[in-house]
Symmetry: C2
Subunit: 214 residues, 2 copies
DNA sequence: CGGGTCGGGGCACATCCGTGCTAAAAAGGG
DNA sequence: CCCTTTTTAGCACGGATGTGCCCCGACCCG
């Protein structure tokens, strides 16, 4: 039997090289040669772990989705341990949604890579499956959060129209988050971390006051 | 004297070829050869009107920004002729903001090309100037609209904190719009034109109720 | 202590890209 | 009619990319 290395670990190293390149210079520089250089490997070696360029990119997309989903799940678990309506709960909601925003270096890289892949998926069919999974995952988290928040002021399931309103509000929150992420990445001079926080708080406050007046 | 053609018109034809390619297959297919083919020209001919590939792309970016800005200005003018608070005014606001969303074929192409260039500007310095102009233009329109809406319920300038709140709300509206556009382009199955409309109406309603309760 | 298998590297080819440069065609004024 | 200037077209070169294919060193098991 020959020499054995941890294939999963090597793949992860290559994927992280992809992340660094995409975050710094975009997907168009994530070629096999550039990735191999960044990972201190030869092109042939990278191709030993990923059959093709497409598989490397698709797998990288999957990893970043899993990373974000993992952070969201952890924040969701912590949120579930707080009592609704308390200041702690409100802070938990901010933390949960903040996991999607580029508020520190790690989340900035993730958000950047995530955005790049989501946009590329529009024109590259081999990324479409991961893009769908990504969207479904995040939409589910936001949907659960909206139901949670709605449960505070109007416990007991409201009928069809109320359900429709909830879906609309979930999509609105999702759109605001993605737009915020986009602005923070593309116009960092205008959209600072502080502004992200302010906008997010304003949105949550708006949800509260609207629900109260209804 | 030699043969004369309308250079501006030829340039416009080439730019529209760029739009078709970017909308269909993204910026990565907008090479000189592909654009020349799409415009039924030779590469050398395209290069006669645009000194380089960079200039072609930067100019195309500028054209799409101008087109969107023109539609916004027109909608803003029409809005100014309506009385604040009326249903007509509210419809005008929806129309104005709707100019940014991919609600029909023309706006979908514009939004798509616009997004593609904005994202590319993050890593391609020669697009940065247009991206800045684009952002400033749209932010100014949304800012004026927010001041207009704020003037309805709280006429007379409020001081510093009120100004700060207004900026935050403007950024929030802007983020929601861009996120909506993004979702409509990337996940058209979930984010339909109807859903765009519902979310936009919900956001405006939220602005009203929040302002009223303040 | 050999041999077979895997990790890792690299060559070569076809393809695409932007661009410098050259050349033909077109057309209106002298 | 011809000449000048614009328009249009095309060639060729250097560079980058994905991929098929081959090679060699390293290692562990029999």
């Amino acid at each position: 039997m020959p020499k054995f290395v941890d294939a999963a670990l090597r793949r992860q190293e290559v994927v992280e090289a992809v992340f660094r390149i995409v975050a710094a210079d975009g997907l168009e520089r994530a070629s096999l040669r550039e990735v191999a250089d960044e990972a201190d490997l030869a092109v042939g070696s990278v191709r030993h772990y990923f059959a093709s360029s497409d598989e490397l990119l698709a797998h990288s997309f999957g990893v970043v989705v899993d990373r974000i989903a993992g952070r969201l799940d952890a924040a969701e678990d912590r949120l579930a341990e707080t009592a609704p309506g308390t200041a702690e709960h409100r802070r938990g909601v901010l933390t949960l949604l903040g996991e999607l925003l580029p508020l520190d270096e790690e989340r900035a890289v993730d958000a950047c890579v995530w955005m790049a892949f989501k946009n590329a998926a529009r024109t590259r069919p081999f990324l479409a499956a991961e893009a769908d999974r990504s969207h479904r995952t995040v939409a589910a988290v936001v949907g659960r959060l909206m139901m949670d928040l709605a449960g505070i002021d109007a416990a007991g399931g409201t009928g069809g129209p109320g359900q429709q309103r909830l879906v609309t509000e979930a999509e609105r929150l999702l759109a605001t988050l993605d737009g915020l992420t986009m602005h923070a990445l593309l116009q960092p001079e205008w959209m600072t971390a502080q502004m992200c926080h302010d906008v997010l708080e304003a949105h949550l406050a708006s949800l509260d006051s609207r629900a109260a007046s209804h």
